[in-house]
Amino acid sequence: MSSDAQSLSVVTPHNPAPLNADDTRVSLDRPGRRYLTQGVSIAALAVYAAYLIYRAAFTLNPDARVFSLLVYFAELHGFVSLFLYFHQLWHRRGRRVVPAPPGLKVDVFVTTYNEDVDLLRQTLRAAIAMRYPHRTYVLDDGRRDAVRDLASELGCQYVTRDNNLHAKAGNWNNAFKQTDADFIATFDADHVPRAEFLERTLGFFRDPKVAIVQVPQQYHNLDSVQHKVSWKNRRMYGEQDAFFGLVMPGKDNWNAAFFCGTGAVLRREALEPHGGILADTITEDLHTSVVLHAEGWKSVYLNEVLVTGLAPVDLKSFAVQRLRWAEGNLKAAAFANPLTIGKLSINQRISYFASLYHWTIGIPKFIYYMAPPWILFTGTFPIANFDRTFVLVYLAFLGTLLVSYRIVSRGKGRLLMDELFNMVSFFTLIRAVKRAVIGRGKPGRFEVTSKRGSGSRDFTAVLPHLTLLGFSALAISWSLMGLGFGVTDDVRGASMAIFWTLYNATLMAIVLKIGTRPAEKRAGSRYRSNFAVESLESGGLGVTADISEKGCSLLWPEPLTIGQRFPARVHFGPRTGDWTIEVTGDQRQQPDGWHRYGVRFLDLTPADVDLINDVVFSVVVPDFFATLVEPAWSIRLWRRLKLAVRSAVPSRAPRQVVRVPTRIRHAAGTIVATVRDLSATGLAVQSAIPLPIGCPVDVTMVAAGRAWRGYATVARCEARLSRESFNTWILGLQFTSEQPEGDVDAFRRWDAA
């Protein structure tokens, strides 16, 4: 960056108070904790290195030289991976948000090619509704009239071109050349920003050297292939959580957090010399970031969920996405090699190298998947001297690895789940390496990830796993025949190899289960949410179990009949929807007595669909990320132990998540809502309006076959701010008198939704 450019930024009237973005960094770990993880990192790497030396010196099998060296290579690859992982987690940094200065000129780019117009509509409406003055552009590489009409209806600018050169990057650059805002927020077609996105990110640009502000990519379709959710334990695993929750804050420490293609704000001044983002590869984001960092620009990673998108819903889409990322990132090295490009710090080089190296993991994984069947077929081991010494050394090494991974990952690492997704991706990653090697210097083909899935069962993505599973099964049977017919008497070796094969085969079977699950039947995603539903005929109360653009799963206390219609009011917190609902399917009575039905909302207008989507993205999705945050079992156990050691009494009575509908009468009116949690002393609800602390209320809770009524006072009122007219408040209500224990306890067992 030239000094002229810097001074221009400083004196811009829009940017009156420059700051150093480095001053906004805060450590996410207490010093003691940080030194512990750093010490553990060094110790674990030392143990790993000692193990590798021991392996090379004493255990390589001269009778199976190639096989032995292949396995050794896989272990060596693991060592480098571990070093890079620990390097990135050396010091995790967060950011203190600084207020956005007024008057910045901001454009918002939403790129699209072939995504559904309905999907795009949600994104554009949310983009337009972001607070902070800005102009919104939809960049349509599909040249579709429907998108042009949508832009016109919503009041945003439509930009297109007569070719698709350089795919998404070319599309983006085309708009870049036609606009002039100093800052550009960019979103993929399925990435719905929250109202505060610009307010939270723009402040960092008060540092004139900041070129990129990136936020994490989170996904709102938690039924995707890359999520595993335990609603009961309030835990969620997302395949990219470790990257965005651990690695990116670590990269931010080295000023190496990079642009991820969506959910970011970029400075025009930094991109201007390049005519926009770099378009030579299919991962323009990483490529652009390396070059900007090499030019002396800074990046900021703000670890707040400010935008959510759609994760691939099936393995085929997942494979397409990962192939593009892996191939693009590996090929980017040919254009901007982080190890050789000028002016990067050594830590930036290592950090970027880690981002490329990660995509080669398919090769060692394939060796690990093939090794045990190979042992079973041939009786040849990659280890010579498979004796007690080796077993002890290996167990010590493995134990160190597991414990250090756990500690350095700050309890957030999920090794088994990571192993599962390595199994999912190994073949795709091998293909990516092959393409990167053969097609070096060529950009590659940009394939758009399907946002809705293929809509039918597709086995192509799991064919490698199916083949490997069959191969493993045959290997086990071959080995058992060998033992059974006395061809071999190496029971110990065969047992070890069979155990290893079975472990891999279990992962393969899970991948097959994920890959062959029935295709999504509903056109839109379903969002687990519990809104009170009130019959406008009988006044009866029920609750939704999930909701989509077209209808919901309804829990109702009494039986309904298929085809039955009645007018109902759905209480979406601050907003309500009055629709006739039709029962379309019986989804069985629940063990707790609720009757569950598939329900369609009749005669929905586009405004009604918008309302549902607004509710989903303003209330439901933020609630996911506020709720599904329970830590790993080990940390929960640790906390319990600490409480027990200190003989501390929890400050609040034990609460249970209970989602039953409730009516709360207060002096000024009635609130219909859903109970969030319940204890022996009170309950919490998400309310459309705030109530003053101490306000007396009359509470009626409804469950299948029974109702409960009592009195309470407002003890807590916390705002959950969202888009305009979607703000809610969490009310903590304390029972005013001792309740008959049995009554409340009965409700606590009725976990309706």
């Binding site: 069959g470 049977s477 025949m481 060998g482 006395g486 061809v487 071999t488």
Partner: protein, 129 residues
């Protein structure tokens, strides 16, 4: 493809694999028989199976004992010696195998080797005493 189709395919593959196994290890499966059954068999059949088995890199103790004992009965001393030498590699301290090998070497006219083996055996025996 469904799970049942995959399982059917796997079952067929396993049947084929069984056939391949039988062909691949026909020599070793031959030596699963008791020695008494083998010595009633055609000597040529024994010899071809034994020579095939002895080309394998890995043989179990049972295979080698069976080959050595049957070779003794058939008077195939070279096969007996080869089997016992392999057997001794698995259990270098096995005195019975050394004795048997020494005897086979003597019968084969390799007196020097036999004497060395017996001397080693006596030496190691006196060391133990």
């Amino acid at each position: 493809m469904t799970t049942s189709k995959f399982l059917i395919g796997l079952a067929i593959a396993m049947l084929l694999q069984g056939s391949v196994f039988a062909v691949q290890y026909r020599d070793l499966l031959y030596f699963r028989q008791p020695t008494t059954a083998i010595v009633r068999d055609d000597p040529a059949s024994f010899e071809s199976n034994a020579r095939a088995a002895l080309t394998r890199r890995k043989l179990t103790r049972q295979h080698l004992d069976t080959i050595a004992n049957a070779a003794l009965k058939f008077g195939k001393t070279d096969i007996e010696i080869a089997a016992l030498e392999r057997r001794l590699e698995l259990d270098p301290a096995a005195a019975g195998v050394r004795l048997q090998l020494g005897d086979a070497l003597r019968r084969a006219g390799r007196f020097g080797d036999a004497e060395r083996l017996f001397s080693d055996l006596v030496g190691s025996g006196s060391e133990k005493q």
